[in-house]
């Protein structure tokens, strides 16, 4: 049982971005991915989610025993994959509450309805944990939200949908220090032996709050280095250049 990426090659029609990526996240584990701008981190997350800008040319992504690449975007999510976006999209006219309700309902057997009272109770409890004002339930999804509010809203969705594996793409960027702590608390509350996390971040600071079991460096479409928590500190101190040199040396 794991979220397992094997030799993944993917990219735009005219340009390969992921160039043979391997990674395995087991339930209960938290993995962090760091890497320079443009190295392919967001692409990796969107390829897993099934964004049709990108084509997979070879390789495999398995969620437990499900071949994710064979599923539609929505089926992947229902299979247990969650992606917190780096840039969450705004959806005018669709209220946050209706959106979450539709997402929950999509996970119920055909014909079954959401228990509205239970739903609101749960949503309010989650929002309280994230210190989100109730007014966000009736506002259109992400519309006019500040950068930090959008990120909190992503975590609210994570909490409501309880996926098996969650990929968080730079959830820390745009958050003030207090918000970072709140969001980290939310994520930590969701950590469980049954759930795996993949955190994409540029900053070691997030990893002070959400302690990872493994840290990987993604460069030019591949994982070039892996280690424990201490790797994040090392990267913070030394940057990525030394890894480039190492790459060249081993090449």
């Amino acid at each position: 049982m794991s979220l397992k990426i094997t030799n993944l090659h993917a990219g735009l029609p005219d340009r390969e971005i992921l160039k043979g990526l391997n990674l395995e996240v087991k339930p209960g584990e938290v993995h962090a991915i760091m890497g320079p701008n443009g190295s392919g981190k967001s692409t990796l997350s969107k390829v897993m989610a099934g964004h049709d800008d990108y084509a997979v040319t070879s390789g495999e992504v398995m969620l437990d025993d499900i071949n994710l690449l064979e599923l539609s975007v929505d089926a992947r999510a229902r299979a247990g994959l969650f992606l917190a976006f780096q840039y969450p999209h705004e959806i005018p006219g669709v209220s946050n509450a209706n959106f979450l309700r539709a997402a929950k309902k999509a996970r119920l057997p055909e014909g079954e309805e959401i228990d509205a009272i239970k739903f609101y109770k749960e949503m309010y409890a989650r929002m309280d944990a994230l210190e989100m004002d109730r007014s966000f339930t009736s506002r259109s999804v992400n519309e006019g939200f500040s950068g930090g509010e959008k990120k909190r809203n992503e975590i609210l969705q994570l909490m409501m949908l309880e996926p098996k594996y969650a990929v968080l793409d730079e959830t820390d960027s745009g958050l003030d220090i207090d918000a970072l702590k709140i969001v980290a608390r939310g994520v930590n509350a969701m950590r469980s032996p049954d759930r795996g996390f993949l955190l994409i971040t540029h900053y070691q600071r997030l990893l002070d709050y959400i302690q990872p079991d493994f840290v990987h460096v993604l460069m030019d479409g591949k994982i070039v280095h892996s280690g424990g928590r201490e790797l994040a500190l090392e990267l913070e101190a030394k940057g990525y250049d030394w890894l480039k040199e190492e790459e060249l040396a081993t090449a």
Binding site: A49, G50, H51, D52, S72, V73, D74, R76, A77, R78, L83, F85, P88, H89, I91, P92, G93, V94, N98, F99, A102, A103, A106, R107, S140, V141, Q157, L161
Partner: protein, 451 residues
């Protein structure tokens, strides 16, 4: 995505030897007890109808449309439906959760009339009855408005045949809380109905009226409806037309509103059915300080055509009009919007706005918009705009990435898109009803998508 239309084939004038159906069948007034003036007007209209040519796409007001979609020769005035069909229509007449009065007409015959909820003094009567009891009032107002938008022929046809519909007169100061709701059904094949609505308010009165037009799928039929709304000084009228004819139906809706001093008129079109529907909506702002909101939603599917023509006529100073038409198109459907804001001499300090938005769910759907302005006064604020865009792939992706299937994701986006026109009604009961009708359409779309 395309914002323009290829011209539809030209319509050749109909040779008289092929004329049949409504072209020839003269109105039957044998059992009517209507006053003399009505017979005269109706007979004149029949003459007018026969003289006027069928509109062609060469007429500016029928550009991009196709009058041939309104077939007259295969259709006859609806005959009384049998009991079984009438009962089926009554059973399927679900609409508002609470109505102040309720009427059901089947094939232009009154089947249900419930008016006991109305306060005393309000006139709310089937047309045939009103013609007898309120002859003078009707003589003054009944079909006295000019046809500006291209359907003079069909307005004449309506007047020639009309016998069904409801007349509402709310005396000064009286407010009716719950809407008056009227259902018009076409039952049986090749039948035409001519529903009429006339709403008049005295000073500072208030009322809302909802018309439904319905028929079954797979049955050719025509609804040629007229509604006139006349708001007295300081009064308030909300008028809603909700058209859900079956896929083979043809729907015409010719309407006018007249807003006197400081009155407030809202009109709403929900065009949800029919293979071809055309609405012609004229707003007359005749009194200073009056306001008119013209709102519309449609969601054509398959080969449906929604043809919308509007005119905002500002005839007095300090008048305000705001039009918002929203179309969500699917499949190979088409929406045509043509709107003119006309500010007359002396109508200074007019505010007039016009917006048409199209959301395209398919690359084959086509929307065309022809906005227009004619301003002959000073100190006028006007704007018009129209835009068409496909459903955003990024919005869809976001919803799907949360596990929401494609059809449901589109439903949420389309509903979100159409909702702000609904919100402008500021009437929860009516909004809930229209949303429920839209959900019926979404259910059809889902079924179709599953095939």
């Amino acid at each position: 995505m395309s914002a323009t239309l290829a011209p539809t084939p030209q319509i050749s004038p109909m040779p008289s030897d092929t004329a049949s159906g409504l072209e020839l069948i003269s109105p039957d007034r044998t059992n009517s007890s209507a006053p003399q003036w009505f017979f005269e007007r109706s007979a004149n209209a029949w003459g007018e109808f026969q003289k006027l040519p069928v509109p062609s796409i060469k007429d500016e007001s029928w550009r991009y449309s196709n009058a041939k979609r309104i077939s007259l020769n295969s259709i006859h005035p609806a005959e009384a439906a049998n009991e079984h069909l009438e009962a089926a229509a009554v059973a399927a007449s679900e609409g508002l959760a609470t109505a102040g009065a309720r009427f059901v007409f089947v094939n232009d015959r009154l089947v249900v009339s419930e008016t006991q909820g109305l306060p005393e003094g309000v006139v709310c009567l089937p047309l045939e009855e009103a013609l007898q009891s309120h002859s003078a009032l009707l003589e003054e107002h009944f079909m006295k408005r000019e046809s500006f938008l291209g359907s003079a022929k069909f307005a004449s046809l309506h007047l020639a045949h009309v016998k069904a519909g409801v007349v509402v007169f709310v005396p000064a100061q009286m407010e009716i809380e719950n809407p008056i709701e009227v259902f018009h059904w076409i039952k049986g094949a090749n039948a035409a109905i001519f529903p009429h609505t006339l709403v008049i308010t005295g000073d500072h009165a208030k009322v809302s009226v909802v018309d439904h037009y319905r028929s079954d799928d797979g049955v050719v039929g025509l609804s040629c409806a007229v509604s006139d709304v006349i708001a007295g000084n300081g009064s308030s009228i909300t008028y809603v037309a909700c058209q859900e004819l079956g896929n083979e139906g043809q729907a015409l809706h010719l309407s006018s509103t007249t807003a006197q001093k400081d009155s407030l008129v809202k009109s709403f079109q929900a065009q949800l059915g029919a293979g071809f529907s055309r609405t012609e909506s004229v707003s007359n702002l005749v009194g200073a300080g009056s306001r008119s909101d013209m709102l519309s939603v449609s969601m054509p599917i398959a080969d449906q055509v929604v043809d919308q023509r509007t005119l905002q006529r500002h005839l007095a100073p300090h008048t305000f009009s705001d039009l918002l038409y929203k179309n969500a198109l699917y499949d190979r459907s088409r929406a045509i919007f043509s709107g003119l804001i006309h500010v007359f001499e002396g109508a200074h300090y007019t505010d007039a706005y016009q917006t048409c938005r199209n959301l395209l769910n398919s690359e084959e759907a086509e929307a065309s918009s022809m906005p227009g302005l004619e301003i002959n006064a000073d100190q006028v604020k006007c704007s018009h705009g129209s835009a068409s865009s496909p459903v955003s792939e990024e919005e869809l992706f976001y919803l799907k990435a949360r596990g929401i299937p494609d059809a449901e994701a589109r439903r949420l986006i389309v509903l979100g898109f159409l909702k702000n026109a609904l919100g402008r009604l500021e009437n929860e009961v009516v909004e809930a009803m229209i949303i429920a009708r839209m959900e019926e359409k979404f259910a059809r779309i889902a079924v179709q998508a599953a095939v």
